[in-house]
């Protein structure tokens, strides 16, 4: 059971912990999109390798971004 192997397989490094300069911003679509699947769903922590604290912040940012129509809630396969 490897789940969604779309993203980084390494579990070690949380990207936000590693590079402190990166700020989580709900307006930063380019950054946020790396943590959503092609269906628009939020990538689970065990795939993206983010730590708990940052995953919570990330989730909040993604959800705000969705409200402001910068990210979709869902993307339908055609």
């Amino acid at each position: 059971m490897s789940g969604n192997r779309k993203f980084f397989y390494r579990r070690k490094v949380c990207i936000f912990c590693a590079d402190k300069g990166v700020v989580l911003d709900y307006k930063d679509v380019g950054l946020l999109r790396r943590f959503t699947t092609d269906r628009g769903r939020i990538v689970p922590r065990r795939i993206s390798g983010t730590c708990a604290k940052h995953q919570r912040a990330l989730t909040l940012a993604i959800k705000r971004s969705r409200v402001m129509a910068l990210l979709p809630f869902t993307v339908l396969e055609s």
Partner: protein, 153 residues
């Protein structure tokens, strides 16, 4: 002591200048009249939205950053609800305990990046991204994971 807030809101895309001006007056007025201090008011222009709002595909994004207290925020949000041209809004608290006398308004205003478009080092190339290419990609997508991604795509 004031707090730092930002409010991002979306207006209908094809509004005449006078309507946009009215919105601006209402919002900045709300800041002033309620003990707030405006840091910046920026119209970020039209953008295609991720889904339709009020049957429209594009929206005009406007951003305001200000110092204030709860009353300030309440009044701004009230205006958001009242103005028909405003379709969505979100208010975020950025900081606490700001001393307005010591606050560097210009420096802060300069640090505002529309849609998070910060200047970054573009190291890891990610072919499937448009716009802001590779952000802090070092510890992230390496040889292996990129291969996984490409396989899926």
């Amino acid at each position: 002591m004031l707090r730092k807030y930002e409010t991002l809101f979306i207006t209908k895309p094809d509004l005449p200048d006078e309507s946009m001006e009215k919105v601006k007056q209402r919002v900045t007025g709300a800041v002033k009249k309620n003990g707030g201090l405006e840091i910046a008011y920026q119209d970020w222009g039209k953008r295609k939205m991720a889904y339709q709002i009020q049957k429209l595909s594009k929206g005009n994004y406007v951003y305001i950053r200000y110092l204030g207290n709860g009353t300030t925020v309440a009044e701004i949000e009230h205006q958001m609800k009242v103005l028909d041209d405003v379709m969505r809004y979100v208010t975020v608290k950025l900081d606490e305990r700001i001393d307005p006398d010591q606050f560097d308004f210009e420096a802060d205003a300069a640090s505002i990046y529309p849609f998070g478009a910060r200047p970054r080092d573009n190291d890891s190339p990610r072919g499937d991204e448009q716009g802001e290419g590779g952000e802090m990609g070092d510890s992230g997508p390496d040889g292996d994971s990129k291969d996984d991604m490409d396989a899926d795509n």
